[in-house]
Symmetry: C2
Subunit: 205 residues, 2 copies
DNA sequence: GCTTTTACCGACCACTCGGTTTGTAACTAT
DNA sequence: ATAGTTACAAACCGAGTGGTCGGTAAAAGC
């Protein structure tokens, strides 16, 4: 049983380092040997635990990327407050983290989507699943907000979710270079502007 | 002199095919040989005309990508009409083209930005320059719209430009898979919503 | 105590990569 | 006609690539 523990410890180490390097250099630009070198492990160790580089990556997606999206983008918007506040704060924090990350290479999920788009259906399926989960949760937060009178009832929540996802992916892409802090500030103030336009109009009492 | 013509014809053919394959498979996943095979040319031919794969790509950026961004995203928004109309129509058309493109792999510029982000400074500089040109033109269109009374004078045009660029890059990234037409429709209606919020409020006469 | 399983090593394979070198046919300038 | 230049072909190089395989030491199961 603690045999299994050792196995899992090694596999975990491989996945952590794997994700790090894949994120930094891209999937195709990171060789299995690169990962192994960092861990002082051999090819034999890798192919003892995993069938292929691709299978290895898919395990990383399911073990790490899903969780990161959950903790960074989904859990923070659960709740019954005003969706505008929830989502704005969530984005603000996600961008702030990126600004202060010395080794930021963009939004993990969209980077890989970009790399595999139209080139690797199997991996794309897994990545799109994560995107879908995010979208569904955004929609449900917005709809809850509609019921609670925060969001205008004429608003198309699916549309708003797509728009929010798009803008987030975009800003994270261009934030990598240049002056991320200025970009973040400008983006956030326009995001608030957008939210104002879909919030329920407060008729003067 | 017509010697030079032959030279330029060959180089042009290489760049056209090069861009095609780089766009389809990514820069690092396209070998020089892949391009040469398509043209029935040899390595010798390639390295006779270009110093390296990287130099070759930079020439492609300057000869083709700049022009594509101009014709697709900059020229259509030049004019003195309402920026909301100009930009909305421009995005609409750009997305429509993508929807009907059987071989769409996303937004050329942002795909490469994503691939080179934090990995190749030299190429990133050229790509960021294009992005900057686009941004500057968006800002100037918006400011012109302010002067002409179309855009609310409290709006931060730089911020709006960043927001528009972000959302466009994002929607093009997620539009590749799934149902591009539905995504386009949803995106466009939210974009109009956003523009409504930054247009000058028409006080009832 | 003996056997089996596990976790890992490291040499090796066939292949691909960007880039170099050498050779040559055709054209140009004199 | 001849000498030089241009535009390309083709073989080649060394460094990597994902993946295989035979071996081994230690632990687990009986």
């Amino acid at each position: 049983m603690d045999k299994n523990l050792k196995r899992m410890a090694t596999m975990h180490r491989m996945q952590v380092t794997g994700l790090e390097l894949f994120y930094k250099n891209g999937y195709y630009n990171t060789s299995v040997d690169d990962i192994l070198k960092e861990l002082s492990l051999s090819k034999g160790a890798f192919y003892h635990h995993y069938e292929s580089k691709e299978d290895f990556f898919i395990e990383i997606i399911q073990n790490f990327m899903v969780r990161k999206v959950y903790s960074m983008l989904i859990e923070p918007i659960e709740g019954h407050e005003n969706p505008a506040t929830l989502i704005t704060n969530c984005f603000e924090e996600a961008l702030e983290t990126a600004v202060h990350n010395e080794m930021d290479f963009g939004f993990l999920l969209s980077n890989f989507i970009c790399e595999f788009n139209g080139r690797n259906q199997r991996i794309m399926k897994h990545l799109n699943d994560i995107l879908k989960i995010w979208e569904v949760n955004l929609v449900s937060t917005l709809q809850k907000g509609k019921l609670n009178g925060y969001i205008d009832r004429h608003i198309d929540c699916e549309g708003a979710a797509v728009f929010l996802i798009s803008s987030f992916i975009g800003i994270r892409t261009i934030m990598v270079e240049a002056s991320p802090n200025a970009l973040k500030y400008r983006f956030m103030s326009q995001l608030r502007q957008y939210f104002k336009s879909i919030e329920t109009k407060q008729t003067v009492v």
